[in-house]
């Protein structure tokens, strides 16, 4: 089923097309002297089809959250283009940006922090509607109830007057999801939506997100560090390292036949519950992710890569190779 969406005919225009996107954060001394920049997102291109669920996977500092925020219009891209539904994000004026924000929902990592603690659930869900000019109270009420039912917080009455601290972590995250959905977005960006929840709740929330994505025909972009959950909740994976996408493919292809050495290292480091793990040393590449202020020349993974080729990997940036059909990997090994 997952593949069916992925192999949709490319004739249909993509919902989101990102081309050569860079998001840098300037470092200034005394507020004006430019002393460098953090290359958080450093040349990322991809397209997302309508109704597709994808995952961006990487370690902290790989730029996945900065990418999410750039797509949400919270950071201005330094270079490159984001096209949403045919229009360029860079061309939007204030009104256009506001309208764009209604079409992109955002689910954050920390459900308690994502909800203003001084508002009750009814009010939290009303806020986006008020901001986007839904004046009629009855209409707001109707939409709030509908979305609460959709995230399985029913009966809605029971939750409308609750404050966030009265809800469990899973319920809070459902409210966050309801808020992201209430403006009927076309794209939902979920940044580590379950990493702060208990194991038993994680699956519930992921199931819920996936179910809503399917029933609404949403495009869903998961940002996560956890490759083990990805298989069941996304169709395509983008693996990010140091501000770049190093590998992308359909879920099963990527997990079963990882091509990039970084992806291979990442997968090797992940344990499945097994008593034998206790006596096995894992292969872990040495070193740490590079500085994003002075990223290494050539391939960014080369200082840690067991297959690094001197004179090539440390000098030339690898382009995207296609070692398998529809499976891109930015590594000179595929040359």
């Amino acid at each position: 089923m997952a593949q069916a969406v992925f192999h949709r005919e490319p004739a249909e225009a993509p919902l989101l097309a990102v081309h050569d996107l860079h998001t840098w954060f300037e470092l200034r001394q005394w507020g004006f002297l430019r002393v460098g920049a953090v290359h958080a997102v450093d040349g990322v291109s991809f397209t997302l089809a309508r109704g597709e669920a994808v995952a961006f996977v990487g370690e902290s500092g790989c730029g996945k959250s900065s990418l999410a925020r750039t797509l949400l219009g919270l950071h201005r891209p330094t270079r490159g283009e984001v096209r949403f539904d045919g229009g360029s994000l860079g061309d939007l004026d204030a009104g256009g940006l506001k309208a764009y924000r209604a079409r992109v929902g955002y689910v954050q990592q920390d459900p308690y922090g994502a909800l203003p603690p001084f508002l009750d659930v009814g009010r939290i869900l009303a806020e986006p509607l008020i901001i986007h000019g839904v004046k009629a109270r009855a209409e707001r009420e109707r939409r709030i109830r509908a979305v609460l039912e959709e995230v399985r917080l029913s009966p809605a009455e029971e939750y409308l007057t609750k404050f966030p601290h009265m809800l469990s972590g899973g319920q809070q995250q459902r409210v966050v999801i309801a808020r992201a959905l209430i403006l009927a977005p076309a794209l939902l960006i979920a940044d580590e939506p379950v990493s702060m929840l208990d194991a038993s709740v994680r699956i519930e929330i992921l199931d819920l997100l996936r179910g809503i994505q399917a029933s609404r025909g949403l495009t869903l972009a998961f940002i996560t560090h956890d490759l083990s959950t990805v298989r069941h909740f996304a169709e395509r994976i983008f693996v990010m390292y140091a501000g770049r996408v190093v590998e992308s493919a359909a879920v099963d292809a990527l997990l079963d036949h990882p091509q990039h050495p970084y992806t291979q290292a990442l997968l090797a480091a992940i344990a499945d519950p097994d008593a034998a793990n206790a006596t096995r040393q894992r292969e872990v590449p040495g070193g740490e992710p590079p500085s994003l202020i002075h990223p290494p020349a050539g391939c960014r993974f080369h200082p840690r890569c067991p297959h690094a080729m001197a004179g090539l990997c440390d000098h030339d940036e690898p382009p995207d190779f296609e070692p398998r059909r529809r499976h891109l990997s930015a590594c000179w090994l595929h040359r």
């Binding site: 370690e59 194991a199 560090h225 083990s228 069941h232 008593a275």
Partner: protein, 327 residues
């Protein structure tokens, strides 16, 4: 192969007083730990697993309402020691604790090496030089370059800081190290690196560990034995291979089924419902409300039932009489 028993815990209890009532965070926990053995205490947040570590190490907040139980460390009855003697004779030197997020609790203005050496200077009165030499040794053990001895915490990455904290716990060569979520804030590769270091230390130094975590996959990286905690109690204690391949308690089975696995295509299944609140835990089996196998007897508090030599489960399904009656 059987090593002598290092730690015996019986009926350990820790209750907190809060404005909403008394929280029974640890409610009658007992287990044995052998030398050079690693016990993983597995549980969801709020099940009392961190309180268990606090109770063992006497790192107690002010609102403790009741502590109870007996802890024997080797031949010493730890629970009978007055606080002062406990601090002098047990803490750091025989039992060390790495608290959750303690890598962020390093003193920002003191060099890392000095902080790691500190317990030796305080507890054993070692000279600065001798203590620093030992600190360098331990740094090697946990896989941190000795160059970092003279660095300040902010100059270290999260993974390196976590290793430094681990070094601090190991510096006085304790018999037992308690680790509370030592890797949960870290990245996958860093996590794997630290687990590698722990495995090596256990093998080379013969240290015993109690690893407290919510992450089933991480737990399997070190565990000789696994204790699954639910609502302040151990519901199942078993050797790792028994626990991971043949979990006995319904909660254990459901938890294992809810773990997403990288290398399997089976879809993880959520556990419906929520854990009970610890203000007023239900009488009888505390998991009954979420359990698909619930039956009349679950209204009574289940005893710890022996399944094997070192396998205990708190569930009536495994009681002789139930099995005979059901069969």
């Amino acid at each position: 192969m059987s090593e002598p028993t290092l730690l015996r815990v019986a009926d350990l209890a820790l209750h907190y007083r809060t404005r909403r009532g008394v929280v029974r965070a640890v409610d009658g926990v007992g287990f044995d730990l052998r030398r050079n053995e690693a016990l993983v205490v597995l549980g969801e947040s709020g099940c009392g697993k961190s309180s268990l570590a606090r109770a063992l190490m006497r790192v107690l907040p002010r609102n403790v309402q009741h502590t109870g139980g007996r802890v024997m460390l080797g031949e010493t009855e730890v629970t009978a020691l007055p606080d002062e003697r406990f601090r002098r004779e047990v803490q750091w030197s025989r039992m060390a604790l790495v608290m959750q997020a303690s890598m962020n609790a390093l003193n920002p203005v003191v060099r890392v090496g000095e902080q790691v050496a500190e317990p030796l200077r305080v507890l054993r009165g070692w000279s600065r030089r001798r203590a620093l030499e030992r600190a360098a040794e331990v740094f090697g053990l946990v896989g941190v370059s000795t160059d970092f001895l003279s660095r300040y915490p902010f100059e270290l990455s999260g993974g390196m800081r976590q290793r430094a904290v681990l070094a601090m716990a190991l510096v006085a060569e304790p018999e037992l190290v308690i680790l509370d979520e030592p890797t949960s804030a870290l990245d996958v590769l860093t996590q794997a690196g630290i687990m590698n270091a722990l495995k090596r230390i256990k093998r080379e130094q013969g240290t015993s560990f109690i690893l407290i975590t919510h992450d089933v996959a991480t737990s399997s990286e070190l565990a000789d034995r696994v204790a699954l905690m639910y609502a302040g109690q151990f519901v199942e204690v078993a050797d790792a291979d028994a626990f991971f391949s043949r979990p006995a308690h319904p909660y254990s089975r459901m938890l294992m089924a809810s773990v997403p696995r990288l290398r399997q295509r089976s879809r993880p299944e959520a556990i419906p419902g929520q854990p009970p609140n610890l203000f007023d835990p239900p009488s009888g089996c505390r998991f009954a409300a979420r359990c698909p196998h619930r039956f009349a007897r679950c209204a009574h508090d289940p005893e710890a039932i022996r399944l094997g030599e070192r396998h205990r489960v708190r569930c009536w399904l495994h009681d002789e009489s139930t099995r005979r009656g059901g069969a």
